[in-house]
Amino acid sequence: MDLLAQVPPESFWSQASGSSGLYMHVAIALIVGIAVMFGLMNAPTRLRRPIVVGLTFISGLFYVLLYFWPAPIARTPGTLPVSTPDAVGFWLSDALTVVANFSSILSGFLLGLGIYSLVRIHGRKIAKQQKDWGFSAVLMASMVIMIVFGYGDWISKLGANGPKMDNQANWGFVNYARDFFFDGMLQQMDAAMFSVIAFYILSAAYRAFRIRSIEATILLATALIVMLSLMGAVEFGWANAIGQNPPHGFGENFTLTSIKTFIVDNVQNPSLRGIDFGIGIGALAMGLRLWLSLEKAGGTA
């Protein structure tokens, strides 16, 4: 239990950093882990599903407990629980920050698979000199460049060097290279690709926003009102036209902003809420099915 809670510093689970004891434990842990892995490799077929199901259930159970188990009231740091349920509550809330990282760590280890897929596909293209293999080569090259300079830059900024690296005057080639490829290229390309959407909006709107059906008309009309209300000049002009500048009295309800606000507050918010309730319940049910492994991932069971 100390493992997850990580409360008392000295225990079987934790060793002083840099101590030989720590390295030994780490080594043992790795060996054990790998041993278990090979053990699993020839686990009998009928055991396989139970193993997966069990692990899934246990990892889900943590959050479920965290939610349903009566949580300690008015807890202050550095105090002891007064009862067993209280103690469990303490442990759960302590363990949260530890467990919270597990999935990101695990998916971190899985990343290699993705990169393997990339390297496999483009590596083969290059090797077989298939069509467009040059581009694959470009991809590989830029990947390697980014890795080299990325890590070079990171190492150069580790520990004590950090402060002075904040000043561009102390930069070395590595730092410049990383800055060039990351800030100069990658980030700019992000922004470029993001802004391409504007063009696509134009063509999509031109093609799709035809007054064919009631639905399309409603969509178009609302979009139009909102867009107009976003154009200060139009808004201003309209307000003048209906003598609402400065706004006063009942007529104020007919300025573009008021109309927009009315739509947003009384139709958009509830309709989005309606969708969200549904999505939320769907996610809950799906979560439940996965947690209890009621359906096999892929629905091919």
Binding site: L3, W13, S14, S17, L22, V26, A29, L30, G33, R48, T56, L61, Y63, F102, S104, I105, L106, G108, F109, F135, L139, M140, A141, S142, M143, M146, I147, Y151, Q168, Y176, F182, G184, M185, L186, Q188, A191, A192, M193, S195, I197, A198, F199, I201, I218, L219, A221, T222, A223, M227, L230, N266, V267, Q268, P270, R273, G274, F277, L284, G287, A297
Partner: protein, 240 residues
């Protein structure tokens, strides 16, 4: 190399890359393909850097090793490595089932949270949705504007508000009814309310479309500013 020169170089390549990606708007071409692959390569490389420097180094490695002399190392974190590696069995014909172990754990953790967060997220929204739909006063149709309303006036539901609230509630309910799947829509009332639900959804979506357009266009404008003003005017012509 002088900092200014470096800056200009950096800007210039940024512009070239931007234009390169824009060419896809005309049609998929070699220029775009080149920058697409540069983009993918750099991104993949950066992912491999960031996964260690941003995630694993902090939340895994330094936990094992104990970040600084004072702290302790929790060696058991090392056990996560073999579990993660089991994912790599996915390509083995015989043992691919083992890849489900890390996936199962990740999924389990995610599912548990869904059960945990549901009410946290939607409870308050429900509480905010139950609005009074009967006016509590008829002294005035709309909220008395102009001078600041007295606390008593403020605590009233005026007919206009009541109407708005009614619209709100009707929208919510009809949209919800649209998402009922397991009921045969023979019932006339239910049929109508779902149709209406769909129309009201469209109003909502239209409003979203409108305000999203603003953002997308702004980002494009910002790119253009980057190209024309920051690079062309300031960078090349040293104007402004």
């Amino acid at each position: 190399m002088k900092p200014e020169t470096y800056q200009l170089l950096k800007l210039t390549f940024g512009v070239i890359a931007t234009v390169g990606l824009y060419t896809v708007l005309y049609k998929e071409n070699k220029f775009y393909r080149f920058f697409e692959h540069v983009f993918l390569g750099l991104a993949a490389g950066w992912t491999l850097v960031a996964i260690w420097t941003e995630t694993l180094y902090d939340s895994w490695w330094s936990k094992i090793m104990g970040s600084t002399g004072a702290a302790n190392g929790y060696w058991a974190y090392a056990l996560l490595l073999p579990i993660g590696l089991m994912g790599y069995f996915v390509f083995s014909k015989k043992h691919n089932w083992m890849s489900r172990i890390p996936i199962g754990i990740i999924l389990g953790l995610w599912s548990g949270q869904q059960i945990q967060v549901w009410w946290k997220r939607y409870g308050p929204q429900l509480a905010d949705s139950v609005k009074p739909i009967f006016p509590s006063t008829t002294s005035s149709f709309t909220v008395p504007g102009g001078s600041k309303p007295t606390p008593f006036e403020a605590a009233q539901v005026y007919p206009s508000q009541a109407i708005c609230n009614l619209i709100f509630v009707i929208t919510l309910l009809s949209v919800l009814s649209y998402f009922l799947f397991s009921f045969d829509l023979k019932n006339r009332f239910l049929k109508n309310s779902t149709t209406m639900g769909r129309w009201l959804l469209m109003v909502g979506f239209g409003a979203i479309f409108g305000s999203t357009v603003m953002m997308r266009f702004t980002l494009l404008i910002d790119r253009m500013y980057f190209i024309w003003i920051e690079w062309f005017m300031h960078g090349l012509l040293h104007k402004g």
